[in-house]
């Protein structure tokens, strides 16, 4: 029996590593940010409209990075949300079974392609294409990486939303068809409202994924932190800034170096909140039908 105990102990240690990882993340981000905020006031960090830690005239306002991140994320969602939802409804209500079986794993491929590849796509293919349509579009901009990121996160929305639609009780669907409703009416008036919390959870999760996406924006959005909502000019996101500092030769331990931890903390807090909201909605909605 002693052997059994030792094995159980080892397995527990493996599981405990996940807790240590979380503690490690929080500890590293907080302790480094703490020494950052000893030199830069939290107020300046949250309200200053310039982010120029690498210049002579230093400003540490996170707002330009936040607006850059949100701008790209919103563009990505504008692409992924209508397409992803339509795919979910189509595969659930319209598509022949064989088609669905082939297409579902193919859609997952969209999320399996490495993001550096999408970055190349945005910079080399999509931006030149958009420049023909929109004269004056800068070579680095928010629009092109936003659209490409939208394509990448389609499967996040379509697959989770489809699961949510699928789990709506059959009786509701049959009642709707029995009343003479078309597939479209059934989908939009019966299924979508019934599955709304599951769909919302999938949308939030995709949003969180888009916020944390790095390589597409690091390659195609430029590296100019700028407080703007104009999608045609170069901007910078939180993630792209962290990449920029990591590639440069900023000395370890300097204030400039610590900015990646405060920026990382902001990123972590946002994605953490979104993931938990999504998790909570999903849990609540599962109970509804059980």
């Amino acid at each position: 029996m002693k052997k059994e105990k030792i094995i159980e102990g080892f397995l527990f240690a493996c599981a405990a590593i996940t807790l240590l990882t979380t503690i490690g993340i929080i500890w590293v981000l907080l302790s480094q940010s703490f020494s950052f905020f000893k030199e830069v006031s939290v107020w300046d960090f949250l309200t200053d409209t310039q982010w120029t830690p690498l210049f002579a005239d230093k400003h540490f306002g996170i707002l330009p990075l936040l607006t850059g991140t949100l701008l790209i994320t919103v563009i990505a969602m504008l692409v992924a949300l209508p397409l992803g939802l339509t795919i979910a409804i189509y595969l659930n209500e319209y598509a022949p079974k064989g088609f669905r079986k082939v297409v579902k794993p193919l859609l997952e491929v969209l999320a399996a392609v490495p993001t550096v590849v999408y970055g190349f796509f945005a910079l080399v293919v999509v931006t030149p294409m958009l420049q023909k349509l929109i004269p004056g579009l800068s070579g680095f901009n928010a629009l092109s990486p936003g659209i490409v990121m939208g394509i990448m996160i389609i499967p996040f929305i379509s697959s989770l939303s489809e699961d949510a639609l699928y789990s709506v009780p059959k009786s509701l669907r049959e009642a709707s068809y029995g009343m003479g409703a078309t597939r479209l009416q059934t989908a939009f008036r019966v299924l979508l409202p019934s599955a709304s919390s599951g769909i919302l959870a999938s949308i939030i999760l995709a949003f969180s994924r888009a916020i944390g996406e790095t390589m597409i924006v690091a390659i195609a959005a430029g590296q100019q932190p700028r407080l703007t909502l104009d999608p045609t000019v170069p901007i910078e996101t939180i993630t792209a800034y962290i990449v920029q500092v990591s590639l440069g030769d900023v000395p370890h331990g300097s204030l400039e170096y610590r900015t990646i931890f405060s920026a990382g903390l902001a990123l972590f807090v946002f994605t953490f909140l979104l993931n938990n909201i999504s998790f909570w909605i999903n849990k609540k909605y599962r109970q509804e039908y059980e």
Binding site: C14, Y90, L106, A112, V116, L184, L274
Partner: protein
């Protein structure tokens, strides 16, 4: 037009839009892969595979990059498989329902949602600095292992859940201990699905760039790594480096390197899908 036929017409239009939405992403991806192939295929030859990087794009090769990717693949697998599968088994078979297992579960769901670049930041502090691994292959592999750990834990748990209860009960009935039951009965049946999950997770790991940039993987590596403590580059790093250069020739190199990376990733995904289908047929899992 009657209301009914209008409704039917709307229904049909939505059907067309549905087909369009489903295919547009795939068509764009196909178009893109076609374009990359056209740009990159001309650059792929034996010299490109076995040469070191160079300031001159026509001489530059990807030897350090793809060997680095193989190193990272192997080291990450060695680190993450025992820990991930062990943690999955603990949560599925040992953990008592209660506060601790609840916390562990929510925590793993959270870790799965942490952006990859954040893993780079803790990798930089913990592995590169505190544990003094420097920007080595080992530090990169540990960082990526943490990144894909949640995926492997979840895959292990799902694989265990799919094994019929009767097998476990029969094993206990014959007097086997808990670990004997897990090791000799459940794990062999669950292993195909676990391996599927592990391969998908590793396919994701070898495509990652951001965390490795943060821990200090190098963009220019004129040597082949010989030990886990060597500095390194990987294919995605090499692609990123070439994409960031202004000369058109380097973009062609990037396209060629992307083709090589995609071959790696798609082969791994193909193996995973094949294993999943086979285990479905064999065990009805």
């Amino acid at each position: 037009m009657s209301k009914r036929s209008l409704n039917n017409q709307k229904d049909r239009w939505f059907q067309y839009f549905g087909i369009f939405s489903t295919l547009i992403g795939l068509i764009l991806l196909a178009l893109f892969i076609f374009q990359i192939t056209r740009d990159g295929i001309g650059r792929i030859d034996w010299d490109f595979i076995v040469s070191l990087p160079s300031r001159f794009y026509a001489k530059a090769g990807i030897l350090p990059a793809w060997t680095g990717t193989l190193w990272i693949f192997a080291l990450t697998a060695i680190i993450v498989i025992p820990i991930g599968v062990g943690a999955g088994i603990y949560l599925q078979e040992y953990a008592k329902k209660g506060r601790l297992s609840n916390i562990l579960e929510i925590n793993i769901a959270n870790l799965a949602g942490v952006p990859s670049i954040i893993y780079g930041i803790i990798g930089l502090e913990i592995f590169v600095r505190v544990l003094q691994m420097g920007g080595s292959l080992l530090a990169g592999a540990f960082t990526l292992a943490l990144l894909i750990l949640p995926i492997i834990i979840v895959a292990t748990r799902e694989a265990f859940k799919a094994v019929p209860k009767s097998i476990k009960e029969a094993s206990y009935g014959l007097g086997a201990t808990k670990w004997q039951t897990i090791w000799y009965q459940i794990l062999p049946i669950a292993s195909a699905n676990i391996i599927t999950g592990v391969i998908l997770a590793l396919a994701r790991a070898i495509g990652e760039t951001a965390p490795l940039i943060v821990i200090g993987a190098l963009a220019y590596v004129p040597f082949v790594a010989k030990s886990p403590m060597d500095e390194f580059t990987v294919l995605p790093m090499q692609i990123f480096n070439w994409v960031s250069r202004p000369q058109h020739g380097f973009l062609m190199n990037a396209a060629a390197a992307i083709l090589v990376l995609l071959v790696f990733v798609f082969i791994l995904n193909g193996i995973a899908v094949y294993l999943r289908n086979r285990s479905r047929k064999k065990f009805g899992l």
